[in-house]
């Protein structure tokens, strides 16, 4: 079996390895690194949530659950969606509990597209939408967003890219990696393009609670959009529960039933321990969650001020826990910047091009880190940028600095 490659599924083999993975291998070889490269909270899951899980294990909750997820959890999710976003879903037929939002993304895309359909994906974005669309035999189409426009998706860009083959629009806001958000008016601007072109929206709102300007608005709450939208959310970011792997999808009963068909054959159900913990999070987790969000907001401001002092232009992100500054003043590309910064100053950031070609020229820094680490990392980055500042900063950077 010398040439194993010929046995592999060519579709999977053709998917390039994740840019993040490559950088990860580099970082783990370096000692004493301060990492701003993580994509998860620095908090541990609040104690009362962990404790609820211990208790359920003691009580013997170690079995399968319904494919859709525990009925009590689905009821809690329905109540949460209603009180937080004004969205009404029937817990019996319109909510599916998944293994993280990652599974929900896969299920939603696979349930909705087939060969030749186009999936419209704003860029830069989280890394999975594109390969998942690819695995579903769909064609992914990137929608460019820019720092000048705070990485929001515009009606013009959507209208310019949509074709008769377009079937799905992925709407990942608050956005990883940029921290951009879509306000009500930004979303409202898209609605008639979506409806006129008969698109379905997969709205990945995993960072919804981490919104620092006003309240998060789900596009599903806009007139005419509820049945056209599958809302994806979960517990990882808001409740610091990444390792529990619990997410959920809410949408029209027919879509949820189709997603559940794949889910029941591939996953059966989400782990019961995680579901019990998620229930506790929704019932009693809000005060702890609010505190964590307040803390992120403090550090967001420290990070932004630090970047401004260093001279790295950055629009003010109002969601998630990332900043996405431009590194143009150094004249380096994002991979070069990240690698050199790691070698010379031992700070890990993620090169922007890992999130699509339009992330080139930017880096993603996560501020879910201790204040001490953020300040130390900023000092090191300051030295680094000072050393590598190119002679002639380009005019677009100067313009971005003024914003």
């Amino acid at each position: 079996m010398s040439n194993m490659k010929k046995y592999l599924n060519p579709r999977v083999a053709a998917i390039p390895p994740s840019g993040i993975r490559k950088f990860f291998d580099l970082v783990v070889q370096t000692q004493g690194v301060i990492s701003l490269g993580v994509g998860e909270p620095d908090f541990v899951t609040p104690w009362h949530i962990r404790e609820a899980c211990f208790y359920s294990l003691e009580k013997g909750y170690t079995m399968y659950t319904s494919n859709l997820g525990m009925p009590e959890l689905r009821q809690e999710i329905a109540a949460y969606m209603l009180r937080t976003y004004g969205l009404e879903y029937d817990p019996e037929t319109e909510i599916l509990v998944t293994v993280g939002v990652s599974e929900a993304v896969d299920l939603a895309i696979r349930s909705l597209v087939s060969v030749g359909d186009e999936v419209l994906i704003p860029e830069p974005s989280y890394v999975s939408y594109l390969p998942v669309s690819d695995l579903a035999y769909a064609k992914s189409v990137s929608l460019t967003t820019t720092a000048d426009n705070e990485f929001r998706l515009t009606r013009e860009e959507l209208a310019a890219r949509v074709t008769s083959q377009s079937k799905l629009l992925v709407l990942p806001y608050p956005n990883n990696p940029t921290g951009g958000i879509m306000r009500r008016e930004d979303l409202a601007d898209l609605v008639d393009v979506i409806i006129d072109n008969d698109l379905i929206v997969v709205s990945d709102e995993i960072y919804s609670e981490l919104t620092y300007a006003g309240e998060h608005v789900s596009i599903a709450s806009l007139p005419g959009m509820r049945d056209r939208t599958v809302v994806l959310n979960g517990f990882s970011k808001a409740f610091a529960m990444t390792g529990w792997r619990i997410g959920y999808a809410c949408g029209h009963a027919d879509i949820i039933a189709t997603m559940n068909k794949i889910h029941q054959y591939t996953m059966l159900c989400a782990p019961i321990m995680g579901q019990v913990a998620a229930m506790e999070a929704l019932r009693h987790g809000k005060p702890a969650m609010r505190k964590m969000v307040e803390d992120y907001n403090y550090r967001r401001r420290v990070m932004l001020q630090g970047l401004a002092d260093i001279g790295l232009a950055c629009f003010e992100p109002r969601g998630a826990f990332y900043v996405f500054p431009s590194i143009q003043v150094t004249g380096m590309n994002s991979e070069e910047f990240a690698e050199k910064l790691l070698q010379e100053e031992k700070v890990a950031v993620v090169p922007g091009n890992a999130f699509g070609p339009s992330g080139e020229g930017f880096i993603r820094c996560c501020y879910a880190a201790s204040l001490d680490n953020i300040e130390e990392a900023l000092q090191r980055m300051g030295r680094f940028v000072e050393r590598h500042r190119s002679q002639k900063p380009s005019s677009s950077t100067a313009a971005a600095c003024r914003n």
Partner: protein
């Protein structure tokens, strides 16, 4: 009010934050922070600042005891006068008025168990209005003012993740 609450919460967690850092974190100017803190100090809302020290780790084996004190309240002033009197002893770290089977909870610190016992027997128990005392000696500390006494939990996250 909201700003004051936020400043107090931040300070309660970490009194080493300087005004400039706090101003950036809260998105206000430094003078606002300085003025607010000065006022809260003056009003006695912020009583002072101290460090939380693991003396045992440093090598000191002082003794702490919690003393339950039953008191006969005084006419007109109730428990205040006796509580304030108890508070004045330098050996006393904290004094609380409690609901339940006893009245005052007094935290006393001394160099040896004998020191504390002598203080209770000679000073505290002999005070007029004090009916009885029950002493509980602290054997080991696990957590104080939000700080765990064992080693800090490490960051176990992957260094880079999507």
């Amino acid at each position: 009010m909201e700003l004051e609450r936020k400043i107090l919460k931040l300070y309660e967690k970490d009194a080493t934050l300087n005004h400039q850092q706090m101003a950036i974190m809260l998105g206000v100017d430094e003078k606002t922070v300085t003025d607010t803190i000065a006022r809260l100090e003056k009003e006695g809302v912020i009583l002072g600042y101290n460090a939380i020290i693991n003396w045992e780790k440093w090598g000191d084996d002082g003794v702490t005891a919690m003393i339950d004190v039953k008191v006969v309240p005084e006419r007109e002033v109730g428990f205040d006068s006796i509580a304030e009197r108890v508070s004045r002893y330098p050996e006393v770290r904290c004094v609380y008025l409690m609901s339940g089977t006893y009245d005052l909870s007094v935290v006393v610190q001394g160099e040896t168990m004998k020191d504390v016992a002598r203080f209770v027997a000679e000073k505290l128990a002999t005070l007029e209005h004090v009916q009885s005392t029950t002493s509980h000696f602290v054997l080991k500390r696990y957590k104080q003012d939000n700080f765990l006494f064992n080693d800090k939990e490490e960051d176990r996250r992957l260094v880079v993740s999507p």
